[in-house]
C-alpha cells in the first residue's frame, strides 16, 4: 500500500515537469515529436529508478558532507550507461536527443529525488517513488511531444492525424513553440483544477505552479 502511494503520486499529484516544474530543459528541448519525448522519458525512468535504488541502498554509509558528490557520481554513471546503451541499440534516438542525453545527470528531478526521498527511505519505497516519478515524467514528455508534433507537422508518432487542408504550424516545433505549448498546457491544468474546485464548491485554489522547487529559494529571498 505504501509503495503504491509513493508510486502513484508521481503520476498526477506531483507530476514532475508540469506540477513540480522540475527537469524543464529536456521537457522543452526534446519534445519536437512524441517519439523523442517518449525516448527521453524512458532514459530518465532507467536512470531515476536505478539511482533511487542505489542511493537508498548505500544511504547509510555515505558521509553527509560528500553526499551530493556521491549522488552525482551514481547518477552520472547511470547516465553514461544510458548513453552507451542508447548508442548501441537506439542510435537514431541518440542522435535526436543529442546533448540532452548527458544532461540527464543535471536534471534536478534525479538529484532532487535522491536528496529528498531516496536518501531517507528504505529501498522498496525509493524504487516505487523513482519509478512513479520517471513514468510521470515520460507521460508528460510524450504528451507534450504529441501536442507539438500534431500541430507542427500533422503527425503523431509518425502517423498522419491531420491531413488535407491542414497547414502545419512550424512554429510549434521550433524553439518558441516549446515555451508557448508548455505554458498553455500548464494554464489548461490550472483551469481544470479551478473548475474542479468550483464544482465541489470550494474556493478556487491558488495557482499551483509556484516555480522550480530547487530555485524557489531565490524567488523568495530577501
Amino acid at each position: 500500500m505504501a509503495m503504491w502511494k509513493e508510486f502513484s503520486k508521481g503520476l498526477w499529484a506531483e507530476l514532475p515537469p508540469f506540477r513540480l516544474l522540475l527537469g524543464l530543459c529536456p521537457t522543452l528541448a526534446v519534445t519536437t515529436t512524441a517519439e523523442n519525448g517518449f525516448g527521453m522519458g524512458m532514459a530518465v525512468v532507467f536512470v531515476i529508478t536505478l539511482s533511487s535504488f542505489i542511493v537508498s541502498l548505500i544511504r547509510k554509509i555515505i558521509p553527509k558532507k560528500v553526499r551530493i558528490a556521491c549522488y552525482i557520481t551514481v547518477a552520472a554513471s547511470l547516465v553514461v550507461s544510458v548513453e552507451l546503451l542508447m548508442q548501441a541499440y537506439a542510435y537514431p534516438l541518440y542522435q535526436q536527443l543529442g546533448i540532452f542525453v548527458p544532461l540527464i545527470v543535471v536534471n534536478c528531478l534525479i538529484l532532487g529525488r535522491a536528496e529528498a526521498f531516496a536518501g531517507k527511505n528504505p529501498v522498496h519505497l525509493a524504487v516505487a517513488d523513482g519509478l512513479g516519478m520517471g513514468i510521470g515524467f515520460t507521460l508528460s514528455l510524450t504528451f507534450l511531444g504529441a501536442v507539438r508534433e500534431l500541430f507542427g507537422t500533422g503527425y503523431v508518432f509518425g502517423v498522419e492525424i491531420l491531413s488535407g487542408s491542414f497547414e502545419p504550424v512550424e512554429f510549434m516545433i521550433a524553439a518558441p513553440g516549446a515555451f508557448v505549448a508548455l505554458g498553455l498546457i500548464l494554464a489548461g491544468m490550472n483551469y481544470l483544477s479551478i473548475v474542479k474546485a468550483k464544482r465541489r464548491g470550494e474556493p478556487a485554489p491558488e495557482n499551483p505552479s509556484t516555480g522550480c522547487h530547487a530555485c524557489r529559494a531565490c524567488a523568495g529571498h530577501k
Binding site: E206, H213, A214, C215, R216, C218, G220, H221, K222
Partner: protein, 300 residues
C-alpha cells in the same frame, strides 16, 4: 582499457574528495555551533519555503537576526518550529504565538468609494492614486498585496477586505510591510483588547467617511489604569505585552469608555467577548448535562 578507466575515475574521485576535505579545513569559517544544530533539526530539503536560499541560510538568519521568527519552516511543521525555537533561544511560536491582525472594519463603517478604480489590481498601485479609491485613506484596500506576500496561504480576500486564517498564520510578518496603508499589525494571539481602526485622521474627518472609525478622542488613553495605551503617530496603540502583563484587573475599562466601539475584546482572536461568553455558557450547560447523565437523580 578497464584499468585506465578505473584508475582515472578512482584518481578523480580521490582527488575531489581530498581537495574538498582539505578545503573544508583551509577555508573553515568559524560558525556558530547552533547553526549546525538547527540545520540538523530542519528537514534539509532546501525547499526555500521560508524565504531563504536553503536550510543553512535560514538557520544563520534565525541565529543572527532577532527579528526572524523560528516558525518559518513550513515543510517541517510544528515539531521543527519547537526545535528551532529552543535551539535559537527564541520564544516565537512557543510561548507567545502571534498573529497578523487587520486594523480596519470599513465594511461596518460603510466607507464609500471616492471613485471606481480600474487600474492594476494591487494595493500599492491603487494607493498611489489619490490616496486610494476608498473615502478613508487608511482603509484596507482589498486588492490583496498581502495575500500574494503570504507564504502560507493564510490570507484571502472577502468582500474587499483581507481575512486572516488563524489556523494557517504563523506570524512570519511577510504581510506587514507590503500593505501601503499599514493596516496589518502583529499582535499576540492571546491579546485581550485591540484597536479595530488604523486611521490617523482627526475627529471630524473620520466621522465624515466612516461609522466605525477611531476618532482619536483619547478616552481610552486616559482611562487605562496600566497606561499601556498611547497615542503614537496620530493613532491609538496598545502595548500588548504590557497589557497582558497587567492582567485582567482593569476589567477592560478601555472597551467600555470607547464611544465608537473601536476597542474590542479579543480573546481569542476573531471571537468577540459576547460570542465567548455564549460559548462558555454552552460549555457549562453541557457539563451540567453530562454531570446529570452520570449521576441520575435517585428520584427520577
Amino acid at each position: 582499457m578497464v584499468l585506465t578507466s578505473v584508475l582515472s575515475l578512482l584518481a578523480l574521485g580521490f582527488f575531489c574528495a581530498v581537495v574538498l576535505s582539505a578545503a573544508s579545513r583551509v577555508f573553515y569559517v568559524e560558525e556558530d555551533p547552533r547553526v549546525e544544530a538547527i540545520c540538523d533539526a530542519l528537514p534539509g530539503a532546501n525547499c526555500g519555503g521560508c524565504g531563504y536560499a536553503g536550510c543553512e541560510a535560514y538557520a544563520i538568519a534565525v541565529i543572527t537576526d532577532p527579528d526572524v521568527s523560528a516558525g518559518l519552516c513550513c515543510a517541517g511543521g510544528a515539531e521543527v518550529t519547537v526545535a528551532v525555537s529552543e535551539l535559537s533561544g527564541k520564544a516565537a511560536g512557543g510561548d507567545d504565538p502571534e498573529i497578523s491582525f487587520r486594523r480596519c472594519v470599513k465594511d461596518e463603517g460603510k466607507v464609500e468609494k471616492k471613485f471606481g478604480y480600474q487600474g492594476v489590481l494591487s494595493c500599492t498601485a491603487a494607493g498611489l492614486l489619490e490616496d486610494g479609491p476608498d473615502a478613508c485613506k487608511y482603509s484596507c484596500l482589498g486588492y490583496g498585496d498581502c495575500v500574494k506576500a503570504c507564504p502560507f496561504d493564510a490570507m484571502y480576500i472577502e468582500n474587499d477586505l483581507v481575512v486572516i486564517d488563524p489556523e494557517k498564520c504563523v506570524a512570519c510578518g511577510a504581510c506587514i510591510n507590503v500593505c501601503p496603508n499599514q493596516v496589518l499589525e502583529m499582535i499576540p494571539r492571546r491579546a485581550r483588547v485591540q484597536v479595530f481602526c488604523s486611521t490617523k485622521d482627526k475627529m471630524k474627518a473620520v466621522m465624515d467617511v466612516c461609522e466605525a472609525g477611531c476618532i482619536n478622542c483619547m478616552k481610552c488613553v486616559k482611562k487605562c489604569p496600566a497606561k499601556v495605551i498611547s497615542h503614537v503617530d496620530g493613532q491609538i496603540r496598545i502595548d500588548q505585552a504590557a497589557c497582558l502583563a497587567y492582567g485582567p484587573d482593569c476589567e477592560e475599562i478601555c472597551v467600555d469608555v470607547c464611544p465608537r466601539d473601536i476597542l474590542r475584546l479579543m480573546c481569542p482572536v476573531g471571537i468577540t467577548a459576547k460570542a465567548q461568553e455564549a460559548a462558555a455558557a454552552k460549555k457549562a450547560a453541557e457539563a451540567a448535562q453530562a454531570a446529570e447523565a452520570e449521576n441520575p437523580q435517585p428520584t427520577a
